[in-house]
């Protein structure tokens, strides 16, 4: 699995490519935590549009990142989940606490809107 980061204001986007399982989740979560620390990012978007496979390790990885983002009073969003990924994530109730959009641009727009609301 490969990972790329994009930074915009205080939002970091992690673009994941490949297969997300127990093996790949081990390094992916370290990479994301490290990048958030280095860029001092508060908010996180996980882009799953290029992920071809995910099992329950994905749930653990998402929930772990969610906890860290919340510790810093940040927001987190998911985007580009396939129907299979949604089925798995729904079983664990992920979408009841983390919002999800089809497109990365939409997730970015929503997070920025929230940031502006908080400044008011």
């Amino acid at each position: 699995m490969q990972i790329e980061f994009e930074m915009s204001d205080d939002i970091i986007t992690a673009i994941l490519t490949g297969e997300l399982d127990h093996h790949s989740a081990l390094s992916i979560r370290e990479d994301i935590d490290h990048a958030m620390q280095v860029y001092r990012a508060k908010n996180l978007i996980l882009d799953f549009s290029s992920v071809s496979f995910a099992d329950s390790s994905g749930i653990g990885m998402i929930m772990g990142r969610y906890k860290k983002v919340k510790e810093k009073d940040g927001c987190m969003m998911l985007c580009g989940c396939s129907v299979y990924m949604k089925r798995i994530f729904e079983m664990a109730g992920i979408f009841t606490i983390i919002e999800e959009t089809e497109e990365r641009g939409e997730a970015m727009r929503q997070l920025k809107e929230r940031g502006e609301e908080n400044e008011r």
């Binding site: 127990h22 099992d55 772990g64």
Partner: protein
Amino acid sequence: MKDNVVTVEFIAIAENERFARMVAAAFVVPFDPTVEEITEIKTAVSEAVSNSVIHAYNSSGEGTIKLEMRSTEKGTITIIVEDYGIGIDDIEAARAPMFTTSALEERSGMGFTIMESFTDKLIVESEKEKGTRVTLVKMLDISCGL
């Protein structure tokens, strides 16, 4: 198509989770399964093998996992994932959603729930200090191909 059996044995390292689900996908390809069926089989196998790697052998990388795949001409696929690790204390508890023995390591506790939901039948047999045997049964919808 004749009944078929393929058995593969590999060491219990995380890298082999991907190998195991690829082998299972390759085994069912002759039945011309749907993308959905392949994804469900790959996911269920990945969950079972990850459980053995993480729990049966405590992520030590030692020990082996046996993957046995059987098919009938009617498209019933039976996949057995067997390990010779520590075994499961309480199978009923382990199968419950959100149950995990390693909460600190970001485990979701959803492995058995996903296996159950993505297959037609799930059997879990375990003996302490002997090992665990997970049987996944999937009936492929092959009527349209005949």
